[in-house]
């Protein structure tokens, strides 16, 4: 699932346009983003607080099994990296 500070309406629009089938969650006050220490203060358009890109693979017991914190927001985890990482889950 994907998490951002965007409102549900914006997210639903993105989901429809891009054809994404997974869950999108809205964290407009960045509470969860803060709890995960991922807040990028004034990093968004017009100085808005946003999440820095990050990916976590969480198992059924809610334990983090893999994570990716990019050092460059243009560079994200590649699909093949994620698929490789899911092998730790069983």
């Amino acid at each position: 699932m994907a998490i951002s500070v965007d409102d549900p309406a914006v997210t639903e629009d993105l989901k429809k346009k891009a054809g994404y089938r997974f869950t999108f969650l809205s964290d407009p006050k960045a509470e969860v983003i803060r709890a995960y220490d991922l807040l990028h203060k004034a990093g968004g358009e017009g100085g808005r607080d946003v999440a820095r890109p990050a990916e976590f693979l969480v198992d059924r017991n809610r334990v983090v099994r893999w994570k990716n914190l990019t050092a460059d927001y243009r560079v994200r985890a590649r699909p093949e990296e994620l698929l490789e990482a899911t092998k730790v889950l069983r």
């Binding site: 965007d6 969650l25 509470e31 969860v32 968004g44 808005r48 693979l57 198992d59 809610r62």
Partner: protein, 142 residues
């Protein structure tokens, strides 16, 4: 017709260089940034900028109106510089997130609304999943 006016020809390399600089800049964000191969290290875009730079230099050398040519070339190089700044410096200015959940530690539980407004909790989603869940934090519509 002895009256011989100097013919002012369009400086094709110069203007092609400027147009290519603009295309190189826009095409990265509009197209090449979508694909990891052309996004992560933008060799293709650098290549376009190098061709543009060569055209701009050639344009300045053959220019009849040097001042105009130098200004046009400077704009082209400034676009290249702006791109290099975004790619090499700006996009790396993100928080280190040293307090992010560690591998082997529990991911903090939360409940948020999904895009249809329904409440969604991590703990129940993880427990209901066949293997687990992938959390992707992203910058959002900006």
């Amino acid at each position: 017709m002895p009256y011989d006016r100097p013919v002012r020809r369009i400086n094709r390399p110069l203007w092609a260089g400027l147009v290519l600089s603009v295309i190189a800049f826009i095409s990265y964000f509009a197209l090449f940034a979508r694909f990891p191969v052309t996004r992560d290290v933008p060799w293709l875009t650098y290549g376009l900028f190098l061709i543009a730079a060569a055209l701009l230099v050639a344009g300045v050398r053959r220019a009849q109106r040097r001042v105009v040519a130098v200004i046009v070339a400077a704009i082209g190089f400034a676009i290249f510089g702006g791109f290099a700044y975004v790619v090499l410096l700006f996009s790396k200015q993100i928080p280190a997130s040293t307090g992010a959940p560690r591998v082997g530690a529990p991911a903090p539980d939360f409940t948020l609304k999904d895009s249809t407004g329904r409440a969604f909790s991590l703990a129940s989603a993880a427990a209901a999943a066949p293997k687990g869940v992938l959390l992707v934090f992203y910058r959002g519509h900006w």
